[in-house]
């Protein structure tokens, strides 16, 4: 084959890869751009302070949905983080190779891969039907199931990065395994574990599907954890599919808040992690 043709082909393929990358980024800027432009006009103090107004009436906010999301993410974190971190400790510190560890890792992968709406179905049939009503607890529980595998994966990876010599130094000093794990390994990996936890929080705070039939949504303040409760993503969904322009406005503003939350969490997580690895 002649050399000019080969070089020409090379340049062409390189060009194609660059164009592919540019194409991939168009939707990102498209989505971010429209959300910022459409969202910012409806984003005022009212949005954060008030309840939604009746359909067709302008103004009003999503205060209850923001608080609802925070409450359910908190519940999810309270369950998901301890379970995930402890399970990851087992996988790295106590047993890396037995069939049990392999099975648990496999289950973690399966749980990461199953659609989030499946979690909603399971919690509905197991919790909501049994309790007889939708609730913040059911919603938080659903989110925690999505959170657990994410936390296990990231924590496991971070614990594996802790150098083996630190563990050996601990043993050489005759320190018990519990102290080595709690006082030496966990603090060493803390930054990475927190990073992973933040990314997991970012991920679940945007989840809608598992909340549709667990938390349900609520136009008002929920007075207890045993009542249906509003969530930002669910509210966005309901407003986006409603026929009212005022609600569409709120949906854009809600999306802006949601995206800001996610992006900020991602940026902090990245920044923290980078300062560690350098």
């Amino acid at each position: 084959m002649n050399d000019r043709l080969r070089k020409y082909r090379n340049t062409m393929m390189m060009g194609i890869f660059i164009v592919a990358t540019l194409i991939a980024l168009i939707p990102l800027f498209g989505v971010l751009g429209y959300v910022v432009i459409n969202g910012i006009s409806a984003l005022d103090l009212d949005f954060f302070m008030n309840l939604p107004k009746a359909m067709g009436v302008s103004g009003g906010g999503m205060a209850n949905a923001i608080v609802g999301t925070l409450i359910m993410v908190l519940i999810a974190s309270l369950i998901g983080m301890p379970v995930g971190i402890l399970a990851a400790i087992y996988l790295t510190e106590y047993d890396r190779t037995s069939w049990l560890s392999i099975a648990v890792r496999f289950a973690t992968d399966v749980l990461t891969g199953i659609p989030s709406i499946i979690v909603g179905i399971v919690i509905y049939t197991a919790v909501v039907l049994r309790m007889g009503h939708f609730s913040a607890l059911a919603g938080g529980l659903a989110l925690s199931i999505i959170m657990i595998p994410l936390i296990i994966r990231s924590t496991e990876e971070m614990l594996k990065l802790v150098s083996q010599s630190i563990r050996e130094a601990g043993y050489a000093l005759g320190i018990s395994k519990r102290i080595i794990i709690l006082r030496i390994i966990l603090p060493t990996a803390a930054k990475g574990i927190i990073t992973g936890a933040m990314l997991a929080v970012a991920r679940v705070s945007g989840e809608t599907a598992p909340l549709l039939f667990t938390a349900l949504g609520n136009q008002y303040w929920a007075r207890s954890l045993n009542e249906p409760i509003a969530a930002l993503p669910v509210q966005i969904y309901q407003y986006a599919t409603s026929p009212y322009a005022e609600w569409h406005q709120l949906a854009w503003a809600g999306s802006l808040v949601l995206i800001l939350m996610v992006v900020i969490l991602n940026l902090i997580a990245r920044f923290a992690f980078r300062s560690r690895s350098n």
Partner: protein, 313 residues
Amino acid sequence: MSKKTKLTASIGDQTLRLLTLLMAISVLVLMFWMGWQMFQSAGPSIDKFGFGFITGRVWDPVKEQFGALPFIYGTLMTSLLALLIATPIGLGVAIFLNEMAVTKVRMVVAFLVEMLAAIPSVVYGLWGIFILAPWLRETIQPALAKWFGFLPLFQGTPLGFGMLAGGLILAIMILPTIAAISGEVMAAVPNEQREAALALGATKWEMIRIAVLPYAKSGILGGIMLGLGRALGETMAVTMLIGNRPDILPSLFAPAYSMAAVIANEFTEATYDLYLSALVEIGLILFGITLILNVFARLLVWSVARGPKGGIS
């Protein structure tokens, strides 16, 4: 150490060990419990319709007739369309990031691609309803109908909402998955491979084609399968864009329905047990498909990422 402190230390050690063991086992239990729970709830529907559930074309809750084929069709069509679009672009991104970009560009672009994955599904749906669907209706679909209208795929009224919109939004959402996993396995290709190809006088593209892609092949396939798994189960964005009509029509312009979408829309409206059970069975099918896909995909990715089989290391 006195005997007493030694004893308390060992009790503490055992407690922590048992606690972590318990949590690890609970993850395993959780997986089985979820499958079992769904199987239980889907029972009445499985008993009543048997295999006909999958091949049934009629979904009529009023007449207590439940066939899942329209939803399976809509899910498969949108997911395949998404794969068709996202695979070449995702591979292009992976090659650009791994083989071409300098470190600074790579870090920025990789972060942006990660952001693409981090945007919540419902925000894609909102954007799809108000930006993507009108654009498809007014610009893309008339153009497609004009140039390719002889194909059944591009016939019918341009509505904006339909399988084309659903497939496109899925393509955007699974692109980061395909790019990230492909990039990961490409990074696992030993540099000696690349250097050998370059030393023989290969251009960069030839190096990628000869030394990188064949080596990473099965891992890339795994990435595509993980992308497919994500597309099949994606709920909100598809629900908001696919049109939500349980028809089986050949045209991509036509409204359709997906498995996840019908669950999202009808679950809280299921007024009797068989109805609910049928919806859970759709979820169970989805669970089964994504589980199998994930297992295969992980095996493929793992086979590449663990390194070469014998020889060079």
